[in-house]
Symmetry: C2
Subunit: 174 residues, 2 copies
Amino acid sequence: MNMGCRELYPTLQYLGSATGYVEDILEIVDKLLLFEDLRLPEIESLCSFMHCFGAPRDTTLLQEGSEGDYLLIVLTGSVRVVKVTPDGEKVVAIVGPGASLGEMSMIDGEPRFASCVTVEPTDFAVLTRRDLNEVLLNMPRLGSKFLLVLLQIMTRRLRQASVNSLPNLSGASV
Amino acid sequence: MNMGCRELYPTLQYLGSATGYVEDILEIVDKLLLFEDLRLPEIESLCSFMHCFGAPRDTTLLQEGSEGDYLLIVLTGSVRVVKVTPDGEKVVAIVGPGASLGEMSMIDGEPRFASCVTVEPTDFAVLTRRDLNEVLLNMPRLGSKFLLVLLQIMTRRLRQASVNSLPNLSGASV
């Protein structure tokens, strides 16, 4: 589907199409907000557009400030989200199986907002913007269902971030 | 298309389908992020799903904490976005033609995050969640294009809100 995907992580173990990991995905699907509302055949279709990698501990999967228009789904292990702030580097979150990372850059093509580093050996799946466009083109109903779930996730985060930023509130988010 | 739309604002002047306002929309389209990337026939199609209203000054168009799964597009006039904070009511923004308001509740069905009150006589268009679903069902390509633009707008806001909330940063948004 996407011959260039493997080159996103040339030094990591390439595990092949996510089609081979549908069962693993079903095991964590209750934590996998991105696949919320998707039925099994839809998950299988989406997996055929995704590729899996295995990374050892302390591997940087996404680098703050770097280019990259793809998202990751953590399948096993755990990942630390780190952001450089005026007060130094700060751990924003530690996430595990089912977490998705990198959506913002996949959507807007802007540099990564934070870095993601494996805390332990971690398997993850990749969905690129190009593959998402393929889904939208070839399976528009599945594609728009996926976009709606993504919108819900972003909205939840935006509400939370807006509450956190109330002292500095600016911009209309209602 | 949507017989119930008029009842969203029973006391306001109902201006009819947005189809009658395509020319006005084209005049502000460079400020209308939601219609970014849409071609004229797509704008016309989308307008056939939207309805317009006229409101006098000091009219509350959206009420913080209330239910409501629709968004507004400001066509003329201006609107004050107001949020109740621990330090009292705070004006978050004043927006004019081309601004969209209420996307978050349209997407997640949660209560309104802030109130929107007209500063001067204001015409606006309404897109309900039900109408968006109709667009997705009947014009999936236009629908997913619209969702992608909406995702871009939400992502831009999320990046900004995340920067503003850095001192309180929590949750993985990369």
